[in-house]
Symmetry: C2
Subunit: 342 residues, 2 copies
Amino acid sequence: MPPKKASIQDIADRVGVSKALVSFVLNGKGKEHRISEEMSKKVLDVARDMNYKPNQIAKWLRSGKTQTIGLIIADISNPFFGKLGREIEREASKKGYKIVFCSSDENIEKSARQLEMLMKSHVDGFIISPPPGSSAQIEALAKTKIPYVLVDRYFPEIESNYVVIDNFDAAYKATDYLIKKGYRRIAFLTVNDELITMHNRTEGYLGALNDAGLLPEHDLVYKLPFSHDKTDVNQAIMKLTSGERKMDALLFSSSKIGLMGLECIMEMGFNIPGDFALVSFDDPDFYKVCYSPVSAIAQPLAEMAGKAVRILTDEIETGKLSNPSKKVILKSNFIARKSTGS
Amino acid sequence: MPPKKASIQDIADRVGVSKALVSFVLNGKGKEHRISEEMSKKVLDVARDMNYKPNQIAKWLRSGKTQTIGLIIADISNPFFGKLGREIEREASKKGYKIVFCSSDENIEKSARQLEMLMKSHVDGFIISPPPGSSAQIEALAKTKIPYVLVDRYFPEIESNYVVIDNFDAAYKATDYLIKKGYRRIAFLTVNDELITMHNRTEGYLGALNDAGLLPEHDLVYKLPFSHDKTDVNQAIMKLTSGERKMDALLFSSSKIGLMGLECIMEMGFNIPGDFALVSFDDPDFYKVCYSPVSAIAQPLAEMAGKAVRILTDEIETGKLSNPSKKVILKSNFIARKSTGS
DNA sequence: TACTTTTGCTAAAACGTTTTAGCAAAATTT
DNA sequence: AAATTTTGCTAAAACGTTTTAGCAAAAGTA
């Protein structure tokens, strides 16, 4: 019933020429292959008339390329990754690539399955924010010589393309801002340092304290397990707000922690910034309309996406992996809001 | 350099049999085609030994199917759609389908381009939340006989599969809740009724007022242009909160309006629920940690995704479009929070 | 006139599958 | 012993492209 699609063969038959000729003309390689003007015209007319649409699958089979990028985001429930994914789709589409979208939900097995599935699907390249502990997967991927770019995170032991922000600098500046505002007992609520991203944030925080002559007090750094829930965050905040040496400011190392943290803080009835100040990594839209609007470290998502897609498509199109790898480190943007005493 | 992949032909050559035999065995159709046990075993061994991985593109070409679903979401910056997309990906992946992800950003031209691009890419089917005014595109899609399911929205004039919530009921219940709480001047901030979804929400709101014997006062219904920004919302709230007949409760028809609305309300310094109560359609995570936690109409996202994917994959796999179309209408879930006086 | 170059096109292979139709030998039935 | 059935396999087409190699006729050169 769906009116059988016309193929190159059909056009060739109707014009009475070979498939090759039709293919040449349709690909604009007429002159190059010395096809006469009149013949070209005839072919184009017939193609239009038959409403010819090339079969991409056949092209993919010939070329081995699918004009598709596999995107494995770490956690779609985190708005940071959602927005990043959107920007990546936008950039890719500009360049004629489509995005097959997966969220590994920070789960190694899931990410392995997704990688495998995307490789089977012959994506031309990958953009990945790998879950902690997945470095072996990335190494395996590197062996295949399929282009890939890591975003938000990377593994120092693997020589690879990546696009991240300067996490040390971001944490340093945020901490420094709090210090300059007069806060002295600045706490840092983060996850364990398994990811270099998180490690660098911790280092930046400690660095700022050090440079200000404030001895980092280790009871002010609270490292959650990588997979944490609200109970964990609740416990952390209880601890940081009790005893006689309470914190007077709190830095969240991600908006995921931030969201849970805010929920706990509200439930406990704290007053922000009265009881303590708040700063968070990432800048989801809602930080503007929170309980107390949260000062934030905003990441340049569009730029990250642009760079990542650029590096990847360059490799895909030249057929050469960058050597040395491309390592892009972007600056973040601190936004002061009411939660730091505005 | 990447060690040339083995094809069925390679296996056939090595074993000294035909491609057909290898294909039969590899697809588990050995007995069916009366291939001897020993031969089967030999083929499987060699396949494993050569690390054979079937070329999916070739399969796609043969079958005309790509095991891919095109997803065109209306607006990825709206967390509602972000979450819905995630659930759809999850469901699809369970069934062995991958998702090519697009956001039309409520833009007709963009959605047209994306549809075209996805059709060229031979997706097996579509899940779409169409922007207003795109009904012609959907009709054109229907003509192609490619399976599709609409989500969150549909066009009453087009006979198609869709999965939505009962928007009348949801708005009715929320309004009724406010009435029972004693609010009398309940405003509704929404967009124009171009989309049936929005139309039904308006009707539900009006219906509840009517049934309670409260004459709907038309200065309490404020319809924004479909593409609105914070300035528009600001104006609306100014209007609804001024004069001597101010509103005492406000219902947002989407979380997108809700986010902007909250920002305005904060800036204007209103006290929620002191100055007026608040309810919103959709339930993004942050409603829990807002300025004043917002009572919400939560949509059953996982269920929507499940149904949509189910309907679509059924059509894909049976090769028959449902007749009559499948129309799924789900119930939503009202969550009371502090913004309605808890 | 004989040789070379240019013009305009085609045949066929290649990409890697799946599936239909059918063949030869072996086994079974009459 | 002849006819039939079963067994185990293969050849070839089909999906729709792109590209390499090359052929025949026309045009140009010596």
